[in-house]
């Protein structure tokens, strides 16, 4: 993109860091006002950060958040708001879990089983998002509205299908119901970390690959350029021969496909079944992480790690007697202030650049006048 100078790097970091500091201040004030010690809270979080288990859990959460953020960011790049990542990943995880757990899959080679599961998840996610794209290009329905409603529909569809009479079975000895357990050949092994009983998701590699592909497609291909152009100015894109409808459909399908991946690390690396307690709401976390990371592949990774850590540190806070809700407040304040901070930095940048150009040209002009 732009030339990397110390100044431009500093400006790039100013907004997220400023938002973090601001959020920390707000939380400190709230803690103090409610009679909790901010120092103790920081202390508890620092202690949590030293526990390998917390760190592994943070990385695992971050893996999932990152995938959700990329799904959201694909739409954001062209000012398309896919609020439906949540419904897309839940439906995708549920259906692919049912497939992966089905008895006939046992005979397939492990790699094929996993690949098939992931492919189906992507297809389901893309299909569900595709409905919103179809409504938008044929009927002009705002994707914000339609994806939110599709989230609700997905919730009911999943609970309809998650029934012993259909795709689910009751878990022995509990009142939980879920899809048939995926046997070992269909699971993705994790990475052992010393000092922690939990493993790091094997599909963290998938998240990394998705990040690299996202970066490459957006900054190096014609498609990525047209996506960006549509986001910056739809009228200019149209005049340049970009079919906005086509872009809406393609980016929505891609966004949905990545959304389909969101449930995979958990499903194939820890749960092995889609049951009533499968983590919900990941799609909304993805929106926050994409905002904080500015749709940037590296920025979103950092944001996802931060989010993952905050979430897991909340458990530690509970133990030390600080209300864990402080983490929610912190996350909320971060998102709100980062949006404001980015806009401030953007305006400052535009002005600084105009000034710099004015200065640079002013000098040339004077020289010309002298020689004239």
């Amino acid at each position: 993109m732009r030339n990397l100078t110390p100044r431009s790097v500093l400006l790039g970091l100013a907004a997220p860091l400023g938002a973090l500091v601001f959020a920390a201040l707000v939380c400190g004030i709230i803690l103090a006002a409610t009679g909790n010690s901010p120092i103790d809270t920081v202390d508890a979080m620092a202690t949590a950060a030293q526990r390998p288990r917390t760190l592994v859990n943070s990385v695992n959460s971050a893996t999932v958040y990152y995938l959700a953020a990329v799904a959201v960011a694909i739409g954001f790049r062209m000012k398309l708001f896919n609020i439906g990542v949540d419904g897309q990943y839940r439906l995708a995880a549920m259906l692919s879990a049912a497939l992966a757990g089905a008895a006939f899959m046992d005979n397939l080679p492990s790699f094929l089983r996993i690949a098939l599961t992931i492919a189906v998840a992507m297809l389901v996610g893309a299909g569900w998002a595709g409905l919103a794209a179809l409504l938008k290009v044929t009927r002009g329905v705002s994707e914000v509205i339609s994806t939110i409603m599709l989230n609700a529909i997905a919730t009911y569809l999943v609970s309809y299908l998650l029934n012993p009479a259909r795709l689910a079975e009751t878990t022995a000895g509990s009142n939980n119901i879920g899809t048939a357990k995926i046997t070992e050949g269909g699971q993705v092994p994790g990475f052992e970390v010393s000092g922690s009983t939990t493993k790091v998701f094997g599909l963290i590699l998938l998240a990394a690959i998705v990040g690299v592909v996202y970066w490459f497609v957006l900054s190096r291909t014609k498609f990525g350029f047209e996506l960006k152009a549509t986001g910056l100015s739809e009228s200019a894109a149209v005049a340049s021969g970009v079919s906005v409808k086509k872009m809406v459909v393609i980016s929505m399908l891609l966004s949905g496909a990545v959304a389909g991946l969101v449930g995979m690390p958990q499903l194939l690396g820890a749960s092995y079944t889609y049951s009533l307690d499968f983590p919900p709401g990941l799609g909304f976390v993805g929106i926050a992480v994409a905002l904080l990371g500015r749709n940037n592949p590296v920025g979103m990774a950092v944001a996802a790690l931060l989010w993952g850590f905050l979430d897991n540190a909340a458990n530690a806070l509970d133990i030390s007697g600080v209300p864990r809700e402080i983490v929610l407040i912190m996350q909320g304040v971060i998102v709100l202030s980062v949006v404001v901070a980015y806009e401030l930095v953007r305006r400052y940048r535009v002005r600084a650049e105009q000034q710099a150009v004015g200065k640079a040209l002013g000098r040339t002009k004077t020289l010309e006048e002298v020689s004239a």
């Binding site: 993109m1 732009r2 030339n3 190096r220 291909t221 014609k222 498609f223 990525g224 350029f225 047209e226 960006k228 152009a229 910056l232 100015s233 009228s235 200019a236 149209v238 005049a239 340049s240 021969g241 970009v242 079919s243 535009v350 002005r351 600084a352 650049e353 105009q354 000034q355 710099a356 150009v357 004015g358 640079a360 040209l361 040339t364 002009k365």
Partner: protein, 514 residues
């Protein structure tokens, strides 16, 4: 420099700007600007685009504060921190772009923001009486109860003038008031200005159309590169001399040399009809042909179908009937991309909306619109090196003033943005160039450069469709001239023989009766 006290019987100047300096990012700053406007006169402020006229007027109208210098109104020093202060001091501004609500009446528009109260309600009767009184006193002929939507451009301008008079303005700033008018309307406006002057009002008139300035102004101040370079009276100066003061050198003239028109048809349009979204016919059975090496100029008052014609030719808007053929190939149903690949270059009317990605660097803007052709892409991948190299070439050849190709397009001045667009659209050897207002809002230097590039391309057998509101540009640059009125091509003129007045008549439909 202290403002001189009114000596003897001579009244203090209505407006006196002394040593105004304004440092402002991105545009030419004002430095040491001195203007004295005598009360009861029309004072013209001339200068090319970007010379700092608008900044100066924003300072006088309180929209910006000067870093140095003083403003005196009727001899008394003032400091405006907002337009409200300026209005209170009797200064009114008529903007170039009208600020009227179409769906309200003249009366409602005029009182908007300073509604006369009667108890808790509005006193429309008093307002109507006052408007009628002002309208009669200054000969504006405005009916307070008509809907603004039904008014023509000239009438809307008079409503704007009435609006500031209603607020008690004694000094009126008119920012390029003739830019949107045809010659006949300009004459009417000047008549109004003389009436206003006769009633003792002071008018500050901003323009870069020198003939108009010479015909209406009592005093002229020339501004160049942010500073006042001369104060002259219209009797002692010619348009040529003014122009030279304005640009510091000779003024370019839009002019074609020998004809390069061939008989090879490049673009042929037959019976093109376009409907608007609500079913109105905005383009009605339009037919024309452009040959290689020919410039076809389309004259018309804005909003008579020019924008729709261009969009239909570019494939942005679909046509309901007719045929468009480019170099023998039927492109009536082709996509915008296909048309561009077939060799249509496009300089859009609104460069910020359609021609540029303001928040993207210049080299990415080089790719825009040419995403499928070398040197910008290789297969599905961007050729970043190729695009950057070619951007350097355009910056060089088209004299785009920029410190580098990595800066965002928003950092460049309008003229330099336009030169970049022209350079981009001329790349890849197009066969047809659609140029919509190619020199609107650019400075004289850039204007001359753009004309020269069009001339050169024409000599190399480019066909050009030129749409412009600048009649001199149309007459000077076209091989053939057509007039568009209410979506139809109503008349053809020989650019060598036609005058701006005749064109103006044809544009308003007045010429059809005689």
């Amino acid at each position: 420099m202290s403002p001189e006290p009114p000596a003897g019987g001579a009244p203090a100047p209505a407006v006196q700007l002394s040593a105004i300096t304004k440092r402002f990012p991105g545009v030419v700053a004002n430095s040491d600007v001195n203007i004295t406007v005598r009360a009861g006169t029309v004072h013209a402020l001339v200068g090319e685009n970007g010379a700092g006229k608008s900044t100066l007027m924003k300072i006088l109208y309180g929209m910006q504060q000067p870093d140095e210098g003083t403003i005196a109104i009727d001899g008394a020093p003032v400091a405006f921190s907002s337009p409200a202060d300026a209005i209170r001091a009797g200064i009114g501004m008529v903007h170039q772009h009208f600020m009227l609500a179409d769906n309200l009446t003249v009366l409602e528009n005029v009182v908007l923001g300073s509604e006369p109260r009667k108890g808790v309600g509005l006193d429309f009767a008093a307002a109507r009486a006052k408007i009628t009184e002002i309208s009669t006193a200054y000969g504006l002929g405005v009916d307070p109860d008509r809907l603004v939507d039904d008014l023509g451009v000239g009438e809307r301008q008079r409503v704007e003038i009435l609006k500031v008079l209603y607020r008690g303005a004694r000094t009126l700033i008119l920012d390029e008031p003739t830019a949107v008018l045809v010659p006949q309307e300009v004459d009417e406006l000047f008549g109004n200005l003389r009436d206003l002057k006769a009633e003792g009002l002071t008018i500050l008139f901003i323009s870069h159309k020198l003939d108009e300035v010479l015909s209406v102004a009592d005093d002229i101040t020339v501004i160049r590169r942010g500073t006042t370079v001369a104060s002259v009276s219209p009797e002692g100066v010619t348009a040529r001399k003014l122009a030279e003061l304005m640009v510091g050198s000779a003024l370019p003239v839009p002019e074609l040399r020998e004809s390069t028109v061939t008989d090879a048809t490049v673009l042929s349009v037959e019976g093109l009809t376009v409907l608007s979204a609500d079913g109105r016919t905005v383009l009605d059975n339009v037919s024309f042909t452009i040959h290689a090496g020919e410039v076809l100029g389309i004259a018309g008052v804005e909003g008579n179908g020019q924008a729709e014609l261009v969009e239909a030719l570019m494939g942005i808007r679909s046509c309901s009937a007719g045929r468009i053929t480019l170099s023998g190939q039927d492109i009536t149903r082709a996509t915008t991309r296909h048309r561009r690949e077939a060799g249509i270059g496009y300089i859009p009317e609104d460069r910020h909306r359609q021609g540029l990605l303001l928040e993207a660097p210049l080299w990415e803007n080089r790719i825009l619109g040419h995403q499928t052709s070398a040197p910008n892409v290789r297969g599905p991948l961007l050729d970043r090196k190729g695009a950057k190299r070619d951007t350097e070439r355009i910056v060089d050849e088209y004299d785009v003033r920029t410190p580098g190709i990595g800066v965002n397009a928003s950092a460049l001045s309008g003229g330099n943005q336009q030169k970049l667009i022209v350079g981009r659209e001329m790349s890849g050897s197009p066969v047809l160039l659609i140029a919509s207002h190619p020199t609107r809002g650019v400075d004289v230097g850039a204007q001359a450069a753009i004309w020269e590039h069009i001339r050169r391309a024409r000599a190399e057998q480019l066909a050009v469709l030129l749409i412009s509101a600048d009649l001199d540009e149309l007459i000077g640059m076209s091989d053939t001239l057509s007039v568009i009125l209410r979506g139809r091509l109503v008349a053809d003129h020989d650019p060598a023989a036609v005058t701006p007045e005749q064109l103006g008549s044809a544009m308003t439909g007045a010429g059809r009766e005689d």
